[in-house]
């Protein structure tokens, strides 16, 4: 269906694979849940039934690994929000550049 470099559409396979991870991240809409996660990350992940791949990606706070484990960008954004990361932090991490370099890349599109 999709062969776009650097892109995996969140389709049926991903929705099934990532359900527990995304459900946990959806819970981070609530302040009490964000605090509960920070107080006991391992226990919180266990409560939502994350598999080892998902738990490892959460521990590493690695967005590409989280996506690979079935994470959906919109729910992962709530996880990133716990640590105050913005979209340029996340973009830089995924593309392997500094935040300043990522920002410069965005700016360059204005004159493209």
């Amino acid at each position: 269906m999709c062969n776009i470099p650097g892109t995996k559409l969140f389709d049926a396979d991903m929705a099934r694979k990532g359900y527990a991870l995304n459900k946990m991240c959806f819970s981070f809409n609530e302040e009490a849940n964000r605090k509960a996660f920070l107080a006991d990350e391992e226990g919180y992940m266990k409560q939502y039934g994350l598999n080892e791949q998902q738990a490892a990606a959460i521990r590493a706070k690695n967005v590409l690994q989280l996506l690979e484990a079935g994470g959906n960008a919109y729910y992962l954004a709530k996880f990133a929000g716990i640590f105050g990361l913005d979209m340029q932090d996340i973009g830089a991490q995924q593309t392997g550049v500094t935040k300043a370099e990522f920002q410069a890349r965005l700016d360059a599109y204005a004159t493209a």
């Binding site: 650097g6 892109t7 913005d86 340029q88």
Partner: protein, 279 residues
């Protein structure tokens, strides 16, 4: 009969909420974006809408993957915002226009659109921030009807189907026994991609062509499927579906009143347009 006064389409990036809260509208980074709304608000003063039908996509506030409607129409007496997890302040509640909600629901189902109806519905930044850009004092002079389109989980509704949804909503509004003036607001886009190694992707030539197409050849973007639109506009740029549905409400012909386009706001090519129905 009700009258459709026009349409506004705009980006809805969460960072806009932070900029509003911190009053950064005149900072160099933000000014080219916020200045694009001065003319929109001037136009609104003469358009004087009573009701706004808002096409937007929920990002995991009201809907989770447990139940994911393709098209959902709000039918609530009021709609509130809530904590989305990353700390933008919430915004005052909106009054629903329930008569129009149920009129749209009845007409859509009669026209073979199998929509989901919601008598309780939280509205996220994609709904609240555009409203705050149109009415910065956040004392809403309008009632609302939210129409939510799934862009979270594939398969998404096709561009063609979103356009047809907009057409039916247009027919329904024009047939609504009411003297109310109705504005259509569509939020999302333009090109951007948040996830994957392709994060940061923007496509200015496509965005410009897309904005041009809305008055010149409004079904232009309906020639592509979802994957093709993601390729052109990015994984979140697919939110242009809201613009297409919005444009379709106006009928066969529309004229452009105003536009602004600015790169970047956060990771997004931001756009705003005002259109009116034309004979």
């Amino acid at each position: 009969m009700a009258q459709i006064v026009g349409a506004v389409t705009t980006s809805h990036v969460p960072a806009i909420g932070k900029a509003i809260f911190k009053q950064l509208q005149n900072e160099p980074y933000w000014k080219p974006f916020f200045d694009g709304f001065v003319k929109v608000r001037r136009w609104l003063e003469s358009a004087r809408p009573d009701v706004v039908v808002v096409f937007y996509n929920d990002h995991g506030l009201n809907f989770f993957l447990d139940k994911m409607p393709t098209f959902a129409v709000g039918a609530a007496p009021s709609y509130t915002n809530a904590d989305e997890g990353w700390g933008i302040p919430t915004i005052p509640a909106f009054r629903g226009e329930q008569d129009l909600s149920w009129h749209l629901i009845n007409r859509l189902v009669a026209a073979d659109f199998d929509i989901t109806t919601c008598q309780e519905m939280l509205v996220d930044h994609a709904f609240t921030l555009p409203m705050a850009l149109l009415w910065p004092d956040q004392k809403w002079p309008v009632q609302v009807v939210p129409v939510c389109i799934n862009t979270v989980q594939f398969p998404l509704p096709s561009a063609k189907r979103c356009y047809a949804l907009g057409e039916q909503i247009g027919n329904a509004i024009r047939g609504w026994q009411s003297d109310k003036r109705v504005l259509i607001l569509g939020t999302g886009g333009l090109s951007h991609q948040l996830e994957g190694e392709r994060a940061g992707f923007i496509n200015k030539p496509f965005d410009i062509q897309f904005m041009d197409s809305l008055t010149k050849d409004p079904k232009w973007a309906t020639q592509w499927n979802s994957a093709e639109l993601v390729e052109k506009a990015g994984t979140q740029g697919i939110e242009l579906l809201m613009w297409l549905a919005t444009r379709a409400v106006l009928g066969d012909k529309a004229r452009e009143v105003h536009r602004n386009y600015h790169i970047p706001i956060s990771n997004t090519a931001s756009g705003v347009m005002v259109m009116e129905p034309a004979a």
